[in-house]
Amino acid sequence: MKFVLTTTALALILAAPAFADIKIGATISETGPASFLGDPEAKTLKLLVEEINAAGGVNGEKLELVIYDDGGDPNKARTFATRLVEDDEVVAVIGGTTTGTSMAIIPVFEDAEVPFISLAGAIEIIDPVKTYTFKTPHTDRMACAKIFEDMKKNAITKIGMISGSDGFGASMHKQCLSIVGDYGIEVLADETYGPTDADMTPQLTNIKGKDGIQAVLNPGFGQGPAIVTRNYAQLAVGLPLYQSHGVASDGFIELAGAEAAEGVRLPGTALLVAGLLPENDPQRAVVVAYKEAYEKATGKPVSTFGGYAHDALRILVDAITRAGSAEPSDIRDAIEGTKGLVGTTGTVTMTAEDHLGLDLSAFRMLQIEKGGWKIVE
C-alpha cells in the first residue's frame, strides 16, 4: 500500500511540470480614450485563450493569460510591461493598443529579450526592424498604397486631400504624401480639420473650387470622416470620395447616413465583409469562425481591432507549437519563421526583414452601396 502511495505521489510530482502553464502577458487599453480599440482586443484574447485551453492547450500545456489595463497611458503601459517581464515572468507579450503605448514599451522587451507583438498601426514599430518586436495590423502606408492602386486603375491622377489633425489622420496623411508620387498621382489640394470640428464645408468648398481634381481622399478617424462624407454630399461635389481603413466599420455608415455614404470607397479587412467573401477565399473560414465566436460570446458586433488581437494570439500559439518550447528566444525565432498563417487581416509570412508579414492583399477595396458593403475588385 505504502509503495502504491509513494509511486502515486512520485508520479504526481513528476507529472506536474508537464502541466505547467505557459504564461503569456498583455497590456491593453481597455479603458480610456483608446478603449474602443482595447475593449474588443481584451475580450478577444480572453475568449481565444479559453477556447484554446478547452481544446487541450498548446503542446499539451495550458495557456495562462496575464492581462493589464493601461488606460492608454504610455507611462502606465511601461510599468505594466516591466511587471509582466520581471514579476509575472511571461514568455511573450501581446499589446500596446496605441502607437504611443507600443513605442513606450518596446525597449522593455528588447532589453529583457521577450517577444512582443504590437496591436498598433504605425510603421515605426517594425521599421527599422527590432529583434523581439512584431506587429499584426497593416500600416497606414499600405492603406494609402491600396487606395492609390485603386485610383490608378480608375485613371485618377489628380486628387484633393482633407485630413484629420489627430494622431491617426496626421500619420496617414504623412505616409500617403510620401508614396503618392510612385503612383503618378498629384495632390492639388491639401486641407486639414480638427478632431472635434463639427463642419468641414469650408475646406471641401476649397477643394471643390480647385480645377482638375478627380477624386478626394480623407484620412481620418472617428466622427470627422462621417461629417466630411455628409458635407461632401450636401455640397454635391460629385467626385469619387475615398475614406481610410480607420472608418471601416458599420458604425461609419450609420454616422454618415446611408444616403451620403453611397459610393464611398475604402480599404477594409476581410473580417468586415466576412459574409460576402466567396466560398473559395482562403480567409473565409478563419474570419467567419472568429466572427461567430466573438459575437456569440460578447453579443457585440466583431471589430477589426479585435481581429488584430486574434491574429497576434494565433501567431504566438503557432510559434510556440512549432518551437515545441516555451523559451522566449525559441518563440521569437519561431514567430520570425511564421509562414502562410491565415489571420483576419491577411495571410502572414514573416522574415528577418519583415516583422509584419502582410502584403496589399490584406486589404479589400470596399464600396458602400445601399447602406451595406460591396467588394469591388
Binding site: P74, N75, K76, T79, V85
Partner: protein, 318 residues
C-alpha cells in the same frame, strides 16, 4: 537630543529609500519605486505652492511636459547632452512660469484654478499639434542619459530599473531637502504668512505678489525636473505627460498625503502611484476606490493623511 523636524523628515525618507530594496522580490518593484520618487518630486514642488503659499494650480503637468520634451528635443536639435537638456527645460519652465504667473497669480481660488488649468491644456495641445516637431500624439523617443554607462565603467553595475530607482531617489531627497530649507527661511515665512492672510502679510511688509510668483516658479521647476526624469527613464515620451489628468493626479497626491508636509505629500504620491498596481484585479473599480479614499480623507482628515495621523498619535487631536 531631539532632532529637528527637517532632519527627521530627511532621515526617514533616505532610510526608506535605502532599505526598501531589501524587500523587493523582483526588479519590477524598482520601477514602481522610481515612479513614486518622480511623482514625489513634482508633488514636493506643489507643497511649496499649495502647502506653503496657499495657491492652487491645476496646470503643473504643463511644466512636466516642458521638462520632458526638453529632454527629447534639445539633444536632437541643439546637440545638448540630455542632462543639460533637463537643466534647459527647468530654466524654460521657470521663465514661462514667471511670465504666466505674473498675470494669473492676481486671481484667487477657483479663478486661479481655472486659469492654470487652461495653461496646462494649452501646453498639451501644442505638444499634440506640432507633430512635425514633437511627433504628435504618437510621441517621440528620448536619448539615453548615459550615467549608467559611466557608473559601470567605475565598477558599479546597476540594471536599468535599479539605476533609475537610485537616481530618482537621490533627486527626490535633494528636492525634499531644498523644500524643507525653504520652509524655515525668510522666504518660507513670508509664504506662510501670505497663506494665513494676504492682508495681514501685506500690512507687515511682505511683497505678496513677489512671493506668490517665487512659489509658482519654484514649483514649476520641480514639475519640470520630474517630467525630465520620467522622459529619461522611459526613453519615450507622449503628450499625455502634460495632460489634464496628470495635473489632477499631482494635486490629488499632494492633498491626499497632506499639502503642508513634504513627507506627507510624498506618502500621497506613493499611495496613488501604487494603488493602480495593487488594484489591477479590480481595474474597473480603480476610479471608484480612488474617489472613496479621497472623500474619506477630505471628510475625516482634512489636513491630509500624514499630518492628521501624527497629530492623533501625539494625542493633540481636536
Amino acid at each position: 537630543m531631539r532632532l529637528s523636524s527637517k532632519a527627521t523628515t530627511l532621515l526617514i525618507l533616505a532610510a526608506v529609500i535605502a532599505i526598501a530594496p531589501v524587500f523587493f522580490p523582483s526588479s519590477y518593484y524598482f520601477r514602481v519605486g522610481s515612479l513614486i520618487f518622480v511623482n514625489g518630486l513634482a508633488v514636493t514642488g506643489l507643497v511649496i505652492l499649495i502647502g506653503y503659499a496657499g495657491q492652487i494650480s491645476l496646470g503643473h503637468a504643463g511644466f512636466a511636459g516642458i521638462g520632458a520634451y526638453a529632454c527629447a528635443l534639445a539633444p536632437v536639435h541643439l546637440g545638448l547632452h540630455p542632462a543639460l537638456a533637463a537643466v534647459l527645460g527647468a530654466l524654460l519652465s521657470a521663465a514661462i512660469a514667471y511670465l504666466v504667473g505674473r498675470p494669473i497669480l492676481r486671481l484667487k481660488g477657483y479663478y486661479l484654478a481655472v486659469t492654470s488649468l487652461g495653461f496646462g491644456i494649452l501646453v498639451s495641445m501644442v505638444l499634440s499639434n506640432e507633430a512635425q516637431l514633437t511627433g504628435g500624439p504618437d510621441g517621440m523617443a528620448v536619448p539615453e542619459l548615459g550615467l549608467r554607462a559611466v557608473l559601470k565603467a567605475i565598477g558599479i553595475d546597476l540594471s536599468n530599473t535599479e539605476f533609475w530607482y537610485a537616481f530618482s531617489g537621490l533627486v527626490l531627497v535633494l528636492g525634499a531637502w531644498l523644500a524643507l530649507n525653504l520652509y524655515h527661511s525668510p522666504t518660507g515665512r513670508a509664504l506662510r504668512a501670505l497663506h494665513g492672510s494676504e492682508v495681514a502679510a501685506r500690512t507687515v511688509g511682505v511683497d505678496v505678489a513677489h512671493y506668490k510668483l517665487v512659489a509658482f516658479v519654484l514649483s514649476a521647476i520641480y514639475a519640470s525636473v520630474s517630467g525630465s526624469l520620467l522622459a529619461l527613464q522611459n526613453k519615450f515620451i507622449t503628450p499625455d505627460v502634460a495632460g489634464f489628468m496628470h495635473s489632477i493626479e499631482m494635486v490629488t497626491m499632494t492633498v491626499l498625503g497632506g499639502a503642508g508636509s513634504v513627507l506627507g505629500a510624498i506618502l500621497g504620491a506613493a499611495i496613488l502611484t501604487t494603488l493602480p498596481q495593487v488594484l489591477t484585479i479590480f481595474q474597473e473599480y480603480e476610479q471608484l476606490m480612488l474617489g472613496l479614499v479621497m472623500m474619506l480623507v477630505m471628510i475625516f482628515m482634512r489636513e491630509g493623511l500624514l499630518p492628521s495621523i501624527t497629530r492623533r498619535i501625539r494625542g493633540r487631536a481636536e
